[in-house]
Amino acid sequence: MRIVIWIKENLLGSKIDILMTLISAYFIYFIASLFLNFVFTTDWTLIQVNRKILLVGLFPEEQLWRIWTVFSIFSILISATIGYLYKLKLRNSIFYILILIIPFLIFTTMNLLVNVLIILFFSIISYSVFYYLKEKKLKITSRILLLSWLIFLPTLFFILILFGGPKVTLWGGFFVNLILAVIAILAGFPLGVFLALGRASSYQVIKLVSIIFIETFRGAPLIAWLFFAWFVLPNFLPNLFSLNDINLVIRAMIVLSLFSSAYIAEVIRGGLQSIPKGQKEAATALGLNSIQELLFIVLPQALRVVIPAIVSTFIAIFKDTSLVFILGITDLLRIGRLIPEQQQEFYGKSIETLLVVALLFWVVSIVLSQVSRSIEERLNVSK
């Protein structure tokens, strides 16, 4: 009866405790009943009808396999990486998987669910394979992983665009938010590492260039940069590399990547500074050169220190992708606003769509932050 004891100790300990418990209980009841009442009395057909639009915008139905392919590769790659780096606790993983799949239940068609389960199945296999390879201490494993991530970006564009893929202007919905975030993170992270190292470098030119880059991008809000990419860029630059004709989605990707790299660079710089001088001295005294020192001693420690901060940055970037509506991109949030404005039968039903939009953003963010927390716990053990 641990629960009873827990309740006695924590909720009913003193008179004040009892009072607080009662007040909070009423408050929770009030909010929850409002919410549940709304959820269960509302007609959710608008979500059912607009399922596809919310998820992928105007992406043509017969082309959806492209998104599924990219999505599968991504989750298999992520699972492999996690398997290589960490031993997940079963309880935690079930929690992550459930929380990721629950929103899909809203959108359930049998088809969708079957696809998700198949992807899940392959992801688990790839997790186990890479976990096993790590135990075997095969050196090549890390190279395979790194290489796969390197070719993932080009592959992604390849699958989505080439051989008669739909125009980038048709990309929309939650898919756009996810893909913008993934690209901003995959491109922004390495760039951020280089910028941080550049800023800490003793070569004055490299240092100056890094500082100017970082401070320029951090100096203005993302919205301003998006406007810049839309209005200013075409009038400002000569039509170099036909930059003016580049699609707005691609421009959003570039802006988001550069913007996030500046923030990631600052986070990593903090990590670099937290490494005691003695670490470098020990490495130097052992005869490691400055690149080896960086690769084997400084960076691994610095990155560990900043994992939570980096994940927070990732989450922020992910949520910031909803700002791309400024470029006229119909991302999830934009669609959530458009449905109650434009579809007569659902006129004014903003709360319903916005709740679903919020749920989707929330689910991804919460899983990211939980993952970062368990990584943090794991690292504290080996500290």
Partner: protein, 245 residues
């Protein structure tokens, strides 16, 4: 004794800004010699031994290690670092690597030793410092004394000809000092050339061939332990010895 010079320092000076930490140090250290460096805080002991492997760049004078001059030539610096091992007061183990990996990293990356050979070497060194059973642990899981012994093994893994110790026991709890000094004593007996900054007078008396007494960036007095304990010449040496003995 007819011995080869391992370290030759001539008129070495070091400036921190305008502050002169070393004001002209001249000393020859011979092969196989164990030299203990003494002196009050701030006298330049650490600075001196850190100039020997180039952790601090000296401003003038010359330092030669086994005949190689320490200058801006990267090849020379690399050669000297490969011949000089260093043990720090704060251990400076790499916290993200296991004990074994702490030791094998430099042999593998710098000397390009194959992994299995590096691991055999590491295990034999852990054996030598008395903690082979700790190989798989991380530094934070060891006591201070064990950590410092790993640090010694790590330095030895590069098979240096000279070892520098900068107050290796000052950060340790009293009950752990002996285990580290024992390792150092064994090392001294094995014929290693050593320069130790230490206040452990028992150890110094037992193993040192020579003392160097530093004050305000200069070597004020040098000589055998007997000379120091029985017949110190300089007032500053007498004062210092009376304080620590």
């Amino acid at each position: 004794m007819n011995k080869k010079v391992a370290i030759e320092a001539k008129e070495v000076t070091k400036l921190f800004g305008t502050f002169e930490a070393l004001k002209g140090i001249t000393a020859d250290i011979y092969e196989g010699e164990v030299v203990v460096v003494l002196g009050p805080s701030g006298s330049g002991k650490s600075t001196f031994i850190r100039t020997i492997n180039g952790l601090e760049e000296h401003n003038s004078g010359t330092i030669k290690v086994n005949g190689t001059e320490l200058n801006n030539n990267v090849k020379n610096i690399e050669k000297i670092r490969s011949e000089v091992g260093m043990v720090f007061q704060q251990f400076n183990l790499f916290p993200h690597l296991s004990v074994l990996r702490n030791i094998t990293l430099a042999p593998q990356k710098v000397k390009k030793l194959p992994k299995s050979e590096a691991e055999d070497l590491a295990m034999s060194l852990l054996e030598r410092v008395g903690i082979p059973e700790q190989a798989k642990k991380f530094p934070s899981q060891l006591s201070g004394g064990q950590q410092q012994r790993v640090a010694i093994a790590r330095a030895l893994a590069m098979q240096p000809k000279i070892m520098l110790f900068d107050e290796p026991t000052s950060a340790l709890d009293p009950e752990m000092i002996k285990e580290v000094l024992d390792v150092m004593t064994e090392l001294a007996r094995s014929g290693m050339t050593m320069i130790c900054v230490t206040h452990e007078m028992g150890f110094a008396k037992e193993v040192a061939d020579r003392f160097l007494f530093f004050d305000e960036g200069l070597i004020v007095e040098s000589g055998t332990p007997e000379h120091f304990f029985e017949n110190p010449q300089e007032d500053r040496t007498k004062l210092f010895l009376s304080q620590i003995l």
